[in-house]
């Protein structure tokens, strides 16, 4: 099994692909003989690689005995899964109800403007990815922004800029 992943990806990252089978096999080993494991397997693949490499779908399909179509259907249904490598830092702006009422959309607008990318996008230097999320459950501290795993509370537009700078963003205007 697993031999077919030895092929060039669109970006020709052959070394990257060579490492895949071992890492994938390790993930599969934990799920032999269990039912309903597609979602956790995809979650582990994403945890391992940072995204769901399309090259691996055929192997997951073979392991679970289902079609690639079905995997794609499940993977696209859940917002957690991504199909492109993530940026170095992921900025998530919360737009839950409490954050919305307290101006979360203004924070998102500001971050979009400063990073010159839309939500769901990645900056051209691949340093920052920007996402909006429905709720982090930190509503009492709204509006909230999360960079990687760090939660920042009671955001303002100025604070958002300062936080981005802490992660290496350069204010070109200044």
């Amino acid at each position: 099994m697993l031999e077919c992943v030895f092929r060039f990806s669109a970006r020709g990252e052959v070394n990257f692909l060579e490492k895949m089978p071992k890492r994938l096999e390790k993930i599969f080993n934990a799920y032999h003989g269990e039912k309903g494991t597609l979602v956790p397997i995809l979650q582990e693949i994403q945890g391992e690689f940072g995204y769901l490499p399309e090259e691996l779908f055929s192997e997951v399909a073979r392991f679970l005995g289902i079609s690639q179509n079905e995997i794609y259907g499940v993977a696209t249904f859940y917002t957690q899964f991504r199909f492109t490598p993530p940026a170095e830092h992921t900025v998530k702006v919360c737009l839950g109800t409490a954050c919305h009422v307290r101006g979360g959309a203004d924070i998102l607008d500001a971050v979009e403007r400063e990073l010159c990318t839309q939500q769901g996008g990645i900056t051209s230097d691949r340093k920052f990815g920007l996402e909006r999320v429905a709720c982090f459950g930190c509503c009492a501290l709204a509006p909230v922004m999360v960079v990687d795993d760090n939660v920042y509370a009671k955001m303002t537009v100025t604070k958002a800029k300062q936080i981005l700078m802490e992660y290496g963003w350069e204010d070109k205007k200044a």
Binding site: T79, G96, T97, V101, E114, F136, G137, V144, V157
Partner: protein
């Protein structure tokens, strides 16, 4: 070990801690505390203790619910009441160690309240504060008091005694006790828990399942996160009791992946349960075996719906199916399955630790016990609260919540998230119970309670919720997939100032169709925010449609910013900070906003020094300003 031995061991550990000569420092470090800076406070405390050579016991506890006052640090010295300090910074934490731990000055200026029988002069009793006085803590009984990563703390405070008692009784007795309590599902729908369990117990077939629904997807709700992070065992004991009552052998906790700390603490709790013989084969030596597994959700709001959740657990797209058969008859893998919400499970363990009658002593005739709410939005005391059913919304907003932020005017409260409704000022005296909220057009929901003030646009709120449900609609049934999209399109048009007469009627018609025709709860309830805002705030819709005006100054296409020439002193701050260079002017020249370039971000209004207050935000009115920058003072002279 028998349960009595386990309990004795736990109690002696707890008593030793209580009687410890060393000072104890408790740090509230659920996600809310951490994001407010609890971990840097902890670091500062540890460094300071080391520097001064003090031996103290530091415990990370969960959330007591006073999120507005985070980070919270409690200090206990032997023979003194526990003192709770709010808004602690690394600096004040260092001061507290010097002042209170060493010099015995309790620093009333930094304290929020004391916990315990004896008080300290100058500091109020914590539970006498208006924010806590009318709360009743049943499901949150241990939150903020125990170390959530230490099972012995839970056991010492009565934990697992309900399970030990139940294992000596019949499963029917357990269901009977829940029946007596009158407990109804806390996920929002309010179905009587005992009846659900009876159905599931009576269903034919072996290998039944128990599921804990911890897929808290409502934006604006964090009750379950806080509970799981602060007292995971109360939920897990509830699940064991449910499994015993129903005859289930396997359980799942379906938890949002967005809650990593809750998942980590659940994993620790499960491990400790195994070590104590509370999970696995022959639990506590009885003829009862049960195992629990955690499944992480992958980000789909609809998976909070029970049939969608089951599909997701089976590794499929989380799309609901029509009922019957109900999951109690045919659920996960076609087996009888009982699904209850996190808060329900925590109440189950409390009921069995005390009694059904005790629980039924709280609440109203039809809604017994208490309900957790996450109080957020434009309110002073944001946080997690647990109130007896039957309390008024006024008591929650003005008593517990301390009123509206910045003394603004109360406009409404939104309960039940995207499935609920916005209730107006006239609903302030409404009591909080399943029936009253439903009669007012909202729902109890899982417990999100967002307070809105005069600066909240109700049309924008409806648009916001619809944009959420529309994006989260799984697409299976037409009324929801197409209906929510159509409603959203109309609402977006209204918010852009392109509303037409007849839009309100069209919306009402669509609401009716979606409500009646959608397959699942997500679709059925999605019109609620629209229906309630039209019902209670129709004038705002009309202002948007006929006057192209947003009274709350929220809808960007309908508002404009102007710089008043009489007030502008030409300081240049707004000109410098405008992100789109829409402001022109110069030193001592009145600045002017180019309305065509302005993106209405509001930066100019924020940065204009209060002593000038030269920037105004208006909707539906035109303000006369010069076309080009003019010298400061010219317009004043013209007036004279």
């Amino acid at each position: 070990m028998t349960f009595d031995e386990i309990r004795k061991q736990a109690e002696s550990e707890w008593e030793a801690l209580e009687a410890s000569e060393k000072p104890r420092i408790l740090i509230g470090s659920a996600t809310c505390g951490r994001s407010a800076g609890a971990l840097s406070v902890r670091l500062a405390i540890e460094t300071e203790l080391k520097r001064r050579g003090i031996d103290a016991v530091i415990t990370e506890v969960g959330c007591i619910g006073l999120c507005y006052a985070e980070p919270l640090v409690d200090i206990t010295k032997l023979g003194r009441p526990r003192i709770c300090y709010s808004n602690v910074t690394p600096e004040t934490a260092r001061q507290l160690i010097g002042d209170y731990i060493i010099n015995d000055n309790a620093r009333p200026d930094l304290a929020l309240g004391t916990i315990g029988d004896k008080g300290i002069e100058g500091i109020p009793m914590l539970f006498d504060l208006p924010v806590l006085k009318s709360q009743v803590r049943i499901s949150l009984r241990n939150c903020g008091f125990i170390d959530p990563e230490n099972i012995n703390h839970y056991i010492a405070r009565g934990g697992y005694s309900g399970l030990a008692k139940a294992l000596g009784m019949s499963p029917e007795w357990v269901i009977g006790e829940i029946g007596k309590s009158g407990l109804r599902g806390r996920g929002g729908a309010g179905f009587p828990t005992a009846r659900k369990w009876e159905f599931c117990r009576g269903a034919a077939g072996k290998g039944k399942y128990i599921i804990c629904n911890a897929d808290e997807g409502d934006p604006g709700a964090f009750m379950d996160r806080s509970l799981l992070e602060s007292d995971p065992h109360s939920v897990l004991e509830g699940m064991l009791l449910g499994a015993y009552a129903i005859g289930a052998t396997r359980g799942y906790i379906y938890c949002r992946a967005e809650y990593p700390l809750a998942i980590a603490r659940l994993n620790i709790a499960l491990q400790q349960m195994k070590e104590h013989g509370l999970l696995g084969e022959s639990i506590l030596g009885a003829d009862f075996s049960f195992d629990i597994q955690i499944k992480e959700g992958a980000g789909a709001f609809v998976c909070g719906e029970e049939t969608a959740l089951i599909m997701s657990l089976e590794g499929k797209r989380g799309m609901p199916r029509s009922r019957p058969p109900f999951p109690a008859i045919a659920g996960l893998w076609g087996k009888p399955t009982d699904i209850n919400n996190v808060e329900t499970w925590a109440n189950v363990s409390a009921i069995l630790q005390k009694s059904g009658e005790w629980f039924a002593g709280y609440g109203t005739e039809k809604s017994k016990g208490t309900k957790n709410f996450s109080l957020a939005g434009k309110i002073r005391h944001t946080g997690l609260i647990e109130v007896p059913m039957g309390i008024t919304i006024r008591e929650i907003v003005y008593g517990i919540g301390g009123g509206i932020q910045d003394d603004k005017k109360f406009k409404g409260v939104q309960t039940g998230g995207p499935s609920g409704g916005c209730l107006p000022v006239s609903a302030l005296d409404l009591t909080v119970d399943y029936e009253s909220l439903a009669a007012a057009g909202s729902i109890m929901g899982s417990g999100g309670m967002i307070v809105m003030d005069e600066d909240t646009c109700m049309v924008d709120m409806a648009r916001y919720f619809l944009s959420f449900t529309q994006a989260e609609s799984c697409g299976k049934c037409v009324p929801c997939r197409v209906g929510t999209k159509q409603m959203l399109t109309i609402l977006e048009r209204i918010c852009c100032g392109e509303g037409k007469s007849g839009d309100i009627e069209q919306l009402l018609k669509l609401c009716e169709v979606v409500k009646a025709g959608a397959l699942c709860g997500l679709g059925n309830t999605s019109p609620n925010p629209v229906l309630t805002t039209i019902r209670y705030y129709r004038d705002e819709y009309e202002a948007h449609i006929s006057e192209k005006r947003c009274p709350a100054l929220v809808c960007k296409p309908l508002v404009s910013y102007y710089i008043l020439p009489q007030k502008c002193q030409g300081c240049g701050i707004c000109l410098r900070d405008c992100p789109v260079e829409a402001i022109s002017g110069g030193k001592r020249m009145v600045h002017v906003i180019d309305q065509a370039k302005c993106t209405k971000c509001g930066t100019c209004l924020d940065v204009c020094p209060p002593r000038f207050s030269a920037v105004v935000k208006v909707s539906g009115e035109h303000i006369t300003v010069p076309d080009k920058p003019i010298p400061v003072g010219v317009s004043e002279r013209e007036k004279e």
